[in-house]
Symmetry: C2
Subunit: 349 residues, 2 copies
């Protein structure tokens, strides 16, 4: 049976909290037939989220999604901490009682939850956890040599949930469009849901984050790529997630970094008393913390200009260029060519 996906994003479809659902809708080859969000019911998925052409209806309940033909329900929201809430638990149960397979990339492992496992068994449906981690994690190898000619590009950011995955997906797509042997390297559950491989480094025991990132580089090479776009996680100055960010950075050892920033934001999205430092300072911070391990430079700024007018977006791009001296663009609004060009020039391609 062909799977038809419904994305669960109750109350949050219009917000960046629903980044998992937005990413799957934009980049996954899977068919999305409904979005569940009663606060937007009656509209189309693509009406609410820019740069997604989807005509899938937004419906008010899980049952309505099943009636719209969905065979699978994906939790499309990434909450702080990644823990399953009571409301989402109820949605998963409702979906299974409608005969749907349920999928999630939470820290709460569905397959380890006795109640959910019992409901799945009673309804003959499957529980799918997308927050994959290595079966045998390890620390990085002593031997740090890499294949000659390999280029590793990593999206780093000023905050979480601002579009680092989107930037790497767009850059990879543009690189493959130029005939390059490029691959997107998923480091989180949404990326895994889109690409079908990768590890969720934020779900790995902290001692093994860097080693897991290195395993992903190895796997990208084994898959035949010599240009890897590694999805970023969190931010170096994020009060909650900086551990994930730094382990990933030191483990993937990028040759080039693209600094991702949500235009106009000045404080952390979850911790309002933590200011975002000037872009040039943030770029230097990433370079300095990487330097003892590997030589890598921030080569461009990828702005997320969602919600701005074209004029405002152009002004934000000019400001970012002014602040850093680097090429800047919004890869969704302006296309990926400017930033891909800066990356390839830095890599000598």
């Amino acid at each position: 049976m062909t799977e038809r996906l419904a994305i669960y994003a109750e109350g949050l479809w219009a917000l960046s909290d629903a980044k998992t659902g937005h990413g799957v809708l934009r980049y996954s080859p899977r068919e999305v037939v409904a979005v569940v969000d009663s606060t937007e019911a009656g509209r189309r998925a693509g009406d609410v989220v820019p740069y997604t052409a989807s005509d899938a209806p937004i419906v008010a309940s899980v049952t309505a999604a099943a009636e719209a033909g969905a065979t699978n329900l994906l939790i499309g929201v990434a909450p702080p901490g990644g823990v399953l809430t009571d409301a989402w638990r109820a949605a998963l149960v409702e979906a299974m009682e409608c005969g749907m397979t349920v999928e999630a990339g939470l820290h709460t492992v569905l397959g380890q939850d006795e109640h959910l496992v019992a409901v799945a068994r009673a309804n003959g449906v499957e529980l799918r956890d997308l927050r994959w981690t290595p079966a045998t994690p390890r620390v990085p190898r002593i031997d740090r040599r890499r294949p000659a000619g390999l280029g590793v590009v990593h999206a780093v950011g000023t905050d979480s949930a601002i579009g680092k995955m989107t930037v790497t997906l767009e850059l990879d797509r543009a690189a493959r469009g130029r005939g390059l042997a490029s691959a997107f390297v998923a480091t989180g559950q949404t990326g895994i849901a889109i690409s079908g491989w990768g590890y969720a480094v934020d779900h790995v025991i902290s001692d093994y984050v860097a080693g897991t990132a290195e395993m992903l580089i190895d796997e990208g090479v084994e898959r035949g790529a010599d240009l890897l776009f590694v999805e970023g996680q969190g931010a170096l100055h994020h009060p909650a997630y900086s551990a994930v960010t730094l382990g990933l950075l030191h483990g993937c050892r990028p040759d080039a970094m693209v600094l991702v920033h949500q235009a106009g934001t000045t404080v952390n999205s979850e911790y309002a008393d933590v200011a975002i430092r000037p872009l040039g300072d943030v770029a230097r911070a990433y370079e300095q913390i990487l330097a003892p391990i590997h030589d890598g430079a921030v080569v461009a700024v990828a702005l997320n200009t969602r919600g701005l007018t074209d004029e405002e977006a152009a002004a934000a791009v000019a400001d970012a260029h002014q602040a850093t001296g680097l090429p800047a663009a919004d890869v969704v609004r302006h296309g990926a060519d400017t930033i891909l060009g800066a990356v390839l020039a830095h890599l000598g391609r």
Copy 2:
């Protein structure tokens, strides 16, 4: 029955790899009756490890430790990656067959290993895992206020396994000696084995490292302390463990940091092509990466001068002072007063 401890450190008792065993021998109130290391058998535990007065014999086998009266065997070695090796597994089985309780703080969870569980059950003995993590981990709270007058001091370092725990234990002991309401905050398995509370932040899922560190600060306050010495982990520039280091730093938000360095080392102990940066640069790196989250300064350098002559140690202290402009000392060789003084002065105590 009173427990009598044997420390297992086969082939490694003289090396910093046995830091868990050394820490327990030096600082734990528990009675240590033997060390297992066939390469040093016949000597006394304290002969091999400086600044430990222990007369416990070093014996050649686990069975010999049992014959020396040991009731418990502790794996006293912290391997890279924290995984149970086949040789140690055999030692644990031998201990259980001698009727001993076995204890370890590895990533390999003894209580989840079917074979070890079966052997323990067959011999009527206990398996104790010391790598404690929170039952319900979380990200840091939005509300960042702390009790007025709380001082948080954190040991940070240029490498792993160089004595960060020892520095915090000595500073805490000296502070309590001055009548201060001080506590040592364990963040790793050895610290937990010594103090009886804490969490092993390197065994926590990476998204929760900072939140777990914050929980430890809260617990220290609940225990009545207003001066907390938080054990450090890894190093900010460590290729494998920097994720743990940064999550812990951002989560515990220290007011004062003490920079720990093994005198004379110039490269990472596990990654020989990663140079240790000059001490002043490392101190600034810690301050800069903390600054967006919290104001905290490196106020002193704690040198590990193990193996040096008194003259060499004095020269190393002078060099460290010269390089950083900060007070410097070896808290074991010279006592904790110099560094504690610098900490208290910075905190305005």
